[in-house]
Structures are given as structure tokens and as C-alpha cells.
């Protein structure tokens, strides 16, 4: 909820400043760049949803029309005929061209493009930049949040593990909250989907992925509002690990099921025409399962952020005694739902991963059931 208040404050501050700067209301609706409020809010949301090369908390429009960014720069790491490391402050939030070792780089829509000294960006007919993109391994805002989450999780769970030794196998403090969740994942997600015999080797991944997604989702709801799990690269990385684990640990029965789904229930002559359709579907299924994982998590978190921020933005578009409190109330309610969604999405991702692992590690002949 603090997020709501802070961003409200943020918008309010920027509007107050621009109201002071421009006398008439019409001018007030148009920002310094001549954009109207709706476009500005849309751009703000779009920008927020993307990863960024500096950790900006908020920005204030100054009286002379210049934007003052509050935050700190992050290291940019590029591979462009050799490793190039520099601070993202050189970009000045995309406003200037950064010059490193005689090469010029420009930030455009949160991506780094190679450009000339003037910072020209060439577009194709669909208004996509056609400039060369160097391999960008920068420590972005998202990477920082991932790193913080990793540290937090490591500290939290290794201290929980250590506390057992001290307290005679009994959890203490925060462990009392996390241990039941760990047990729930073991009993109701891993064992019930994978089975008593083979669940153990998947446990580290399932536990880590659950807490990782949950924590990052919750971080996304804080005033920092870093949209990490709503980023396609992050969800893709997670889903690819699920995909690899599923297929690399697949048993003989799993592959047999894949290429001979009907089993011995039909003669080969009858099966052949069906298999022309069935086998491609089964093979497609291998890829669709993790793909659905990555899209589901991405879309849910992305949508949550868009809805909350749009509702906050509406307050400033309505600017009336009825509309603004109404959209504030809505934003408040949606934020509450988002807290639930944060947990739910972590649960769904873990649950479905466990389900896929369960398919991959089944050992009995399954043919009769189909």
C-alpha cells in the first residue's frame, strides 16, 4: 500500500511543480515536451514495466522544464569487440550519448544501441530502431533486485537451517513462518505430484523457485515497484530450467509415452494414421508446457502492474472530488488482490513445474488410462 501512497505523492509532486510552472490549466495538462497528461502517464507506465539501466526511484520536473532523476546509476557491461564497462550515469537517462573508447552508445526504449556522436537512431518502416545492438550484459535494475532477492533468500534459509542445530531441531522466529511453507511444498506439491520415491531430487528447484517468485512478486508491490517477474527474460529463464529438468530427468516410460501414446491398446496398423497427428502434438506439448508457464507468470505480473499504475494515473486524469477518490479506492483494492496474486502465481508456477516433473518421472505403464 505504501507503493500507492508513494506513487501518488510522486505524481502529485510532479503535477504541483508543473502547475506552478505554467499559469493556465491547458498548459498544465501539457508537459514540458508538449505531451498531454495521458500520454505522459502511459509512457511512465511503459517505462516502469521495462527493465532499466539505472535505479531511479522517482523523477521531479524542475521549473526550467528539466527532469531531475532521484536514484543511483548502475554499471553497464557491454561486449562490443571487447568488454566495455562504464556507469549508466553516462547516458543521463537516455538524454545523452555515452562515449566509450571511441564508440558511441545511446539508450533508446531501455535498450542500448550503437550510434554516432550525434546519437542518430535509424528507424525502419515500422518505427523500429535498426541500429546495431551490442551484447548487453549490464547490471540493470532487475539484476540488482534478483541479486538482492538471492542474498535475502540465502541469508534467510541458511540461517533457518543453522537455527535447527542450535534449538534442537525446532524452528524459531521467522522459521516458524517459513517451515510450514517448506513442508507444504514438500507434501502437497512435490510428493503428491511426483511421488514419494523420486520427489527428492526436484525439491531444491521447487523450493527455490517458489520463494524466488514469491519474494520478487512482493518486491514488485513495494514502493520500489521493480517489475522483475513481469519481465519476459526472467520468466523465460525460469521456464527453461523447468523444461530442461523435465526432459533431462525423463524416464523411459516418459519418452515411450511421448512417442507411443496409445501403447499396446491398438495394432500398429491402426495406430499409424493417428500417430501422424498425435506425435507432433505430443512433441509440441513438451514446448507448450513451459511456454505456458513463462507467459502465465509474465502476463499476470505485467497486468497487475499495469492495472495498479493505470488506476493511480486515473486520479490525475479525473482530478475531481468523485473520480480521484474512486480510482484511489480501486487502486487500493487491486493492490490487495495483487498481494494474493503474488503468492498465487508463485504457487501455480511451482505446482505446474512439479506436475511436469511428475509426468517425466512416471514409471508405471500409463497406456491403459488413455
Amino acid at each position: 500500500m505504501r507503493k500507492t501512497f508513494l506513487i501518488t505523492l510522486l505524481f502529485a509532486t510532479s503535477l504541483f511543480v508543473s502547475n506552478n510552472a505554467f499559469a493556465s490549466e491547458k498548459e498544465a495538462e501539457e508537459g514540458a515536451d508538449g505531451k498531454d497528461l495521458k500520454t505522459e502517464i502511459k509512457e511512465y507506465i511503459d517505462h516502469h514495466l521495462l527493465d532499466s539501466h539505472d535505479f531511479s526511484l522517482f523523477s521531479i520536473e524542475q521549473e526550467n522544464g528539466e527532469k531531475k532523476h532521484i536514484g543511483f546509476p548502475l554499471p553497464v557491461i557491454l561486449w562490443d569487440n571487447g568488454l566495455k564497462v562504464f556507469s549508466s550515469s553516462k547516458f543521463h537517462h537516455g538524454e545523452t550519448v555515452a562515449e566509450v573508447d571511441g564508440n558511441y552508445y545511446k539508450l533508446y526504449h531501455s535498450k542500448i544501441y550503437k550510434t554516432d556522436a550525434a546519437g542518430t537512431i535509424n528507424y525502419d518502416d515500422k518505427h523500429h530502431a535498426t541500429n546495431e545492438k551490442p551484447l548487453d550484459l549490464s547490471i540493470t535494475k532487475g539484476v540488482v533486485m534478483i541479486f538482492i532477492t538471492c542474498l535475502l533468500m540465502f541469508w534467510l534459509f541458511s540461517s533457518l537451517a543453522k537455527s535447527y542445530a542450535k534449538n534442537g531441531s525446532i524452528p524459531k522466529g521467522i522459521g516458524r513462518f517459513f517451515e510450514p511453507i517448506v513442508l507444504y511444498i514438500r507434501d502437497d506439491i512435490a510428493i503428491s505430484n511426483i511421488g514419494e520415491k523420486r520427489y527428492k531430487k526436484y525439491m531444491p528447484f521447487l523450493l527455490t523457485v517458489f520463494f524466488f517468485i514469491w519474494f520478487l512478486n512482493m518486491f514488485g508491490l513495494t514502493p520500489l515497484g521493480v517489475n522483475v517477474t513481469g519481465n519476459i527474460a526472467v520468466t523465460a529463464a525460469l521456464a527453461i530450467i523447468t523444461f530442461l529438468l523435465t526432459n533431462l530427468t525423463g524416464t523411459k516410460d516418459y519418452w515411450k509415452h511421448l512417442f507411443d501414446p496409445l501403447g499396446d491398446s491398438m495394432p500398429w496398423l491402426g495406430k499409424l494414421p493417428l500417430y501422424i497427428i498425435l506425435i507432433p502434438i505430443e512433441i509440441l506439448g513438451i514446448f507448450i508446457k513451459p511456454f505456458s508457464l513463462l507467459i502465465r507468470l509474465y502476463a499476470n505480473m505485467q497486468a497487475g502492474h499495469i492495472v495498479v499504475m493505470s488506476l493511480i494515473g486515473l486520479m490525475f486524469i479525473f482530478k475531481s472530488w468523485i473520480g480521484s477518490p474512486l480510482s484511489f479506492g480501486l487502486a487500493f483494492a487491486i493492490s490487495l488482490i495483487e498481494i494474493l496474486v503474488a503468492l498465487l502465481q508463485a504457487y501455480i508456477f511451482t505446482m505446474l513445474s512439479a506436475l511436469y516433473f511428475g509426468f517425466a518421472s512416471e514409471e508405471h505403464d500409463h497406456a491403459e488410462a488413455h
Binding site: 527493465d51 550484459l137 540493470t140 533457518l160 527455490t208 527474460a233 529463464a237
Partner: protein
């Protein structure tokens, strides 16, 4: 779809994969394995403790039943022993009474016999003494008669009077 590909950042993907896999491996070693092991051990311990308690309860019941049985047996034995002792006592008393009576009777008879024989001996003795006395008297009388005729007569007369008195 095009937007998704546009949004996809290889750098973020790289760092996410690296950090996440690192996190999984680290947590597996330092957190999940000890946590799950501890939890498993604890559950195992609870299960064992419950089984042991159940076992002990059964054992206890067995022991109680055993001791109850022993107690009963001991009580029965004591009862039997007491009864036997009482019987023996009664028998002994009866026996000794009978014996005493027999002995007494025997002694009594002996005593009676002895008294009888003593009496007979005494009577015989008296008889012989009387006879002797008679003879002595007769002798004396005869002697007196021989010395003094009157006196002899008087003596006979006195003695006869004495005998009459007897």
C-alpha cells in the same frame, strides 16, 4: 509476440539464469538439504517415539497382568499353606490329647495295680504281724501261766476281753 521478442533482454536472461542456478545450488547445499533432513529426522523421531510409547504401554500392560497373576498365585499358595498348617496343628493337638489320655489311663491303671498290690502286701504283712503278735501273746501268756496261775488266768481273761473289744 513481436512485442515479447522486442522486450526480451538477453543480458537480464543471462544474469537471471546465472544467479538463479547459483542460488539453487547454494541453497541446496546450505539450506534445503539441512532443513529437509532435520524435518525428516524430526518426523522419524516422532514416529519412533510414538511407536516406543505404544510398545512401552503394551509392555506395561503385560507386566501388570503378570504381576496380578503372580499375586493371585501367591495369595492362593499362602491360603493353602495356612490351611495345611491349621490342619496339622489340629491333628497334632488331637493326637497329643489322645496320647496323653492313653498315657494317663495307663499310668492310672499302673497306679491302681501298684496300690492294690501294696494293699495286699500290707494286709499280708498285717496278717503275718497279727499272727506273730498272736504267737508272741500266746507265748507271753503261756510264759505267765507258767509263772503265776492266777495271773495267767487273769491275763487270758483280759486278753480275751481285749479281743472282744477288738
Amino acid at each position: 509476440m513481436e512485442k515479447l521478442i522486442e522486450e526480451f533482454s538477453l543480458g537480464l536472461f543471462f544474469w537471471q539464469s546465472l544467479l538463479f542456478i547459483g542460488l539453487v545450488l547454494l541453497l541446496r547445499k546450505f539450506a534445503w538439504k539441512p532443513i529437509l533432513d532435520t524435518v525428516n529426522d524430526r518426523e522419524e523421531g516422532i514416529k519412533n517415539a510414538l511407536a516406543a510409547a505404544e510398545e512401552a504401554k503394551k509392555e506395561m500392560q503385560n507386566v501388570t497382568a503378570d504381576s496380578e497373576k503372580l499375586l493371585k498365585e501367591a495369595r492362593a499358595e499362602r491360603e493353602a499353606m495356612l490351611k495345611e498348617a491349621r490342619e496339622i496343628k489340629e491333628k497334632m493337638i488331637a493326637d497329643s490329647k489322645e496320647q496323653a489320655k492313653l498315657e494317663g489311663d495307663k499310668m492310672l491303671k499302673q497306679a491302681q495295680a501298684a496300690i492294690e498290690s501294696e494293699k495286699k502286701a500290707a494286709v499280708a504283712d498285717i496278717k503275718s504281724q497279727v499272727a506273730n503278735l498272736s504267737v508272741d501273746i500266746a507265748e507271753k501268756v503261756i510264759k505267765e501261766q507258767l509263772s503265776n496261775k492266777d495271773k495267767q488266768l487273769k491275763l487270758v481273761e483280759d486278753m480275751l476281753g481285749d479281743i472282744k473289744l477288738n
